[in-house]
């Protein structure tokens, strides 16, 4: 479990980082952020990048700011940054609640929000969050800056539409309405493991009825996404057991389930039904 040889570059500025990246990207150069996914993969020799562009010293990538419309999260912001709410907007509490479910404390001290998105594990809580809230990804390269919406960002298991030489410099999460509600639930066999299914829901109440409902699902399919069939069961309805169950059923029927040795398709559908309903129940607490 020793990684194959590589050269580590430690740029100090964004321009330097992008230039280095442009130079080495063609030779399987990779960005090193928190290293909590990349380093294990290298130790297993599933990846053998010849160059690592370590962005941990790059000035300015630690931005974490609420501009009244978006929460902007820079590439050096760690999971642990969200242990306490980072904004008074309900999004702050949402991120704090979700963050507790990512791995274990030492991993959260190093792993980054943007690294999770770039890594695109189907079970990643941050990928689910980005997909549910329609985050905007800001990708930079020597060629310029590109904004990518979440629904056009993920490309299956551990794959994104980031291009060679692009750095995910920041992610913009839209703030929730001040009266926005959220609920989250994930299932894993051991604490800290990747979710075998996870759901995030947000909505507002308008005259006792749910509106602007978003239901996102992670860990169930190749990429996290919103599930319109579940949202349709909720929009315009009063929150409660009947609607929540219907949403769970709808999501369970709508998915193309991932299968692995601990989760066959039927079991995945069982879990989806439950995590969607429980995420919605959590929104009432």
């Amino acid at each position: 479990m020793k990684p194959a040889p590589f050269i580590r570059h430690v740029p100090r500025t964004l321009d330097e980082a992008l230039a280095t990246l442009a130079e080495v990207a063609g030779e399987d150069g990779r960005i090193l952020a928190g290293g909590q996914s990349l380093v294990p993969i290298m130790a297993f020799r599933l990846a053998k990048p010849a160059h690592l562009v370590d962005i941990n010293e790059v000035a300015g990538l630690d931005k974490l700011a609420d501009d009244g419309k978006f929460l902007t999260i820079g590439a050096r912001v760690r999971h642990a940054a969200f242990h306490e709410p980072v904004t008074a907007n309900p999004l702050g509490r949402l991120l704090t609640y979700v963050a507790r479910h990512i791995a274990h404390y030492p991993i959260r001290m190093r792993g980054t929000f943007c690294g999770s998105l770039a890594h695109a594990d189907p079970s990643s809580e941050w990928c689910l969050t980005a997909a549910t809230l329609d985050a905007v990804m800001v990708a930079k390269s020597v060629k310029g800056t590109r904004e990518i919406r979440a629904d056009g960002f993920f490309d299956g298991i551990m794959s994104t539409h980031l291009k060679e030489g692009e750095l995910l410099a920041e992610v913009r999460l839209p703030l929730l309405p001040p009266d926005g509600k959220f609920g989250f639930y994930e299932f894993s066999r051991r604490a800290g493991d990747f979710a075998m299914s996870a759901a995030l829901a947000t909505y507002r109440l308008d005259g006792g009825k749910m509106t602007d409902v978003r239901v996102g699902l992670g860990g169930a399919e190749a990429s996290p996404r919103r599930i319109p069939e579940a949202e349709a069961e909720l929009n315009g309805k009063a929150p409660g057991d009947a609607a929540f169950r219907a949403a769970g059923e709808a999501a369970s029927a709508a998915i193309e389930p991932l299968e692995d040795h601990q989760t066959d398709a039927e079991y995945r559908r069982d879990l989806v039904k439950v995590v969607v309903r429980r995420a919605l129940e959590h929104s009432l607490i």
């Binding site: 040889p5 297993f44 507790r100 601990q262 039904k273």
Partner: protein, 793 residues
């Protein structure tokens, strides 16, 4: 949490029975321990392992500049070939490096030697092995199916061990029974996952031509014997040292081919060579365990008294047979100990081991007993259900209460407390209060369950027990040498070889008790074949009983000699002398002499003894006991989330009896660690092969040991029934912790499942398996809520 109920143990003892701190720990907790992987080496080895489960090796291509060793290079090295002279055993030899064909994914095919670990791994990456893929035999049942491919030329039908037993009166009793209850149990494959994976370091001494092999093992002397045999060299040319060992749990009691190769390489290169296994290798290529199918039937009379047991045990032992025990270990132990703590005099058993294209099985803490206890305790719960009586009552009717007891197969059970530990546990857990809580929860759509496991555990058995298996190498006894050196300090050299369990401390306590010096001043030396007497090491909950017994014998001799010397020096009768506080004192007077002064006298003033006392102060003891049975009752309370299949162990309680307890804190630690591993066995850990024989669980995210979050506080109650079969009165307790949890937890899950009319008889009882049962259940109760299993602090 721990409560001790004293039996007749602890009577006026000064050091035995006290929770003194472990003498091992100051070095370990300050990072000053020394492990095999800490040693520097001139050469490092990386093994190239087979990606295929079966097939002929067509070619091995080495990259330029790499030193690659294959079977052809080590043609003179003998295969590892354990032997049983009974039970239709078919010997098979395991080549040190795959020879001509591969038999499991992970089998070492070549060894790459380089200056650093990194270089070795880089080169290993470039070695190409060309294997003509053949179909893989993965499952134990598939191995005995008609038309199954044959793995080894000498093993027709792939059955490598077959034990059969039947009491003469069996058939009559069977046909006359009121009810026959049946349990089809499946115990899936596990890996012991010691924190320190395997490692070996061999150095050549150019002056003597000797090799010193450091390795992480539970039995250094046997490693020496076996490697000397494989290499065809005198044992005196090989010194084996087990330095600090980071857990073994049985995985390190079998000889691994890798160690043989490292020793060979050091001789070949006349240099130092090392190998440190990584976790992935450990999971795919170190010894596996527990892979069994067990069908158990019980014949009961109308009063739910068990009359006869019939067992069919099929152990999937992997590609080869482990040395020295052989792969008879799991099925033959199952055959011998299946009836457990219950009184049943009619017994029939068919126990087989089969070979497959999977990693070889070895020992893992509890060997077979977690699986058989699970099966037997499921059977008891099923019987209770069939008779509509309480699961505790069926145990009350059937537990052995008269001792000594001779089992149907002929094992002699010494006095134990099967009923008493169970009643202690029952009272402590408060069953009525639980049942009320369970009902309230059910009304809210929440499912709780309680499960019990009562079991006996044969521990500390000497050579006769192994001889009964017909082992060509029959372990058993232990020797201890105790010296008081001329400076007055005590050193014990022991043949056993601890792997982290605190044996240095407990043996020092036994010596301290006899000769009246503080245990903290006693050195217990082990693990080095140059300095320790021949011994068998650590396994089968034997070290405290057997090495402890040998220690006591030697310590009593030292005590006798000290009394003699003191009598001489103090001019007093030996019977008037007491040994305490590092001195010999004449009772009722102020006359005394220190142990140090006596020791000095014993070496340097022997002329004064006038030939009445032999010079020097070294004694030895050897002990080879028949074996003694520990016992316990484990209780689990679980919360089952019926929607996800998730099981949370809410409460876990152990009432156990291991005879006299030498150090209660160490005993508690043994049980805690064992239960933690047992929880993994019950709910989480499983080595899974796909149909092609590839392992799907080759890291600790997929092979899932429990974390601190999954382990509840463990409540302990100790009872002490001093053993008559062990001179220290202690019974073994190294394995008991792991034996009970699969049974207790899965019984609790089944209790929680009662309203749904489904049962699970497979370990681990994974959420996927539980959901598959519930999906097809007739009762569609509407459950609620379910905690937050994914969050961490």
């Amino acid at each position: 949490m721990s409560a001790h109920t004293k039996g007749s143990g602890g009577d006026g003892l000064k050091w035995v029975g006290r929770s003194i701190r472990r003498l091992e720990d100051p070095a370990l907790v300050q990072g000053r321990g020394r492990f095999t992987a800490d040693l520097p080496a001139a050469h490092w080895v990386r093994f190239v392992r087979s990606p295929n489960a079966a097939g002929k090796i067509r070619g091995i291509t080495a990259p330029d500049g790499a030193v690659v060793i294959t079977a052809a290079d080590i043609a003179g090295v003998k295969k590892i070939t354990p032997m049983l002279h009974k039970f239709n055993y078919k010997p098979v030899g395991q080549p040190i490096l795959a020879e001509g064909e591969v038999r499991f994914v992970g089998e070492a095919v070549a060894a790459v030697v380089a200056a650093t670990e990194e270089d070795a791994e880089d080169f290993a990456d470039l070695v190409e092995i060309d294997i003509e893929d053949a179909p893989a035999l993965v499952d134990g049942r598939a191995a005995i199916a008609d038309g199954a491919p044959q793995l080894h030329a000498g093993v027709p039908g792939n059955v490598i061990v077959k034990g059969e037993f039947k009491t003469p009166g069996f058939d009559d009793v069977w046909t006359g029974a009121a009810k026959i209850i049946r349990c089809e149990a499946r115990s899936n494959r596990q890996n012991a996952t010691p924190m320190e994976a395997r490692a070996a370091h061999a150095a050549y001494d150019s002056a003597t031509g000797r090799i010193t092999l450091h390795c992480t093992t539970q039995m250094p002397h046997l490693v020496r014997t076996a490697i000397a045999d494989c290499l065809g060299i005198p044992e005196s040319d090989l010194r084996v040292i087990a330095p600090d060992v980071g857990g073994g749990f049985g995985q390190k009691m079998s000889l691994c081919p890798e160690y043989v190769l490292i020793a060979w390489l050091a001789r070949h290169l006349q240099s130092s060579v090392a190998w440190t296994e990584d976790r992935r290798e450990n999971l795919i290529a170190s010894f596996h365990s527990r892979d069994q199918y067990i069908t158990l039937e019980g014949a009961f009379d109308a009063n739910a008294k068990l009359l006869a047991l019939r067992a069919n045990v099929l152990a999937n032992t992997g590609a080869y047979s482990c040395f020295p025990t052989s792969c008879g270990m799991e099925p033959l132990m199952a055959m011998a100990e299946m009836p457990g703590p219950y009184d049943v005099q009619q017994y029939e058993c068919l126990a087989r081991a089969v070979v497959t294209n999977t990693c070889t099985m070895g020992a893992y803490r509890g060997v077979s007993r977690p699986s058989i206890t699970f099966t037997l305790e499921r059977l008891m719960d099923k019987a209770a259900k069939a008779f509509a009586i309480d699961p505790l009552d069926i145990r009350r009717k059937n537990l052995i209460t008269q001792f000594p007891y001779k089992s149907a197969i002929g094992l002699e059970y010494d006095e134990a407390s099967y009923r008493e530990t169970m009643e202690t546990a029952v009272e402590a857990i408060n069953v009525p209060a639980f049942r009320a809580r369970q009902q309230l929860a059910r009304d809210k759509g929440e499912y709780l369950g309680i499960g019990f496991a009562t079991f006996s555990e044969r521990t500390g058995y000497g050579s006769p027990a192994f001889a009964a298996r017909g082992m060509a190498i029959t372990p058993g006894w232990e020797t201890v040498h105790i010296s008081v050196d001329p400076s007055g300090f005590v050193e014990a050299r022991i043949g056993s070889s601890p792997h982290g369990q605190g044996l240095r401390t407990t043996l020092a306590q036994i010596i301290a008790e006899e000769i009246g010096v503080p245990p903290q001043t006693i050195k217990v030396v082990h693990g080095d074949t140059d300095t320790a007497p021949y011994g068998w090491g650590t396994f089968a909950s034997r070290s405290l009983v057997i090495s402890g017994g040998a220690t006591l014998i030697a310590a009593r001799k030292v005590r006798a000699k000290l009394l003699k010397i003191a009598g001489h020096m103090l001019e007093a009768a030996e019977t008037d002398i007491v040994l305490e506080d590092g001195k010999a004192k004449v009772a009722g007077t102020d006359r005394e002499v220190t142990v140090a002064a006596m020791a000095r006298e014993a070496y340097t003033q022997t002329h004064r003894f006038k030939g009445e006392i032999e010079p020097g102060l070294t004694e030895s003891g050897t002990y080879d006991p028949p074996g003694t049975f520990s016992n316990a009752c484990h209780v689990a309370i679980v919360r089952l989330d019926v929607e996800t299949g998730h099981v949370k162990v809410e409460r876990y309680l152990v009432a156990e009896d291991a005879g006299r307890i030498i150090n209660p804190m160490i005993a508690d630690g043994q049980v805690h660690g064992g239960v933690a591993q047992g929880i993994g066995n019950a709910l989480l850990e499983e080595i899974i092969y796909d149909e092609s024989g590839a392992i799907l669980t080759a890291n600790l995210a997929d092979f899932m040991p429990p974390t601190a979050h999954e382990i509840p506080p463990i409540e302990l109650h100790h009872m002490e029934t001093p053993s008559t079969q062990s001179i220290t009165r202690a019974k073994g307790l190294g394995e008991g912790g792991t034996i009970g949890p699969p049974a207790a937890i899965v019984n609790a899950i089944n209790d929680a499942l009662t309203p749904f009319n489904v049962e699970i008889d497979t370990i681990p009882a994974t959420p996927q398996r539980i959901r598959a049962l519930l999906r097809n259940a007739t009762n569609s109760a509407r459950p609620r809520a379910g905690g937050d299993p994914g969050a961490t602090t």
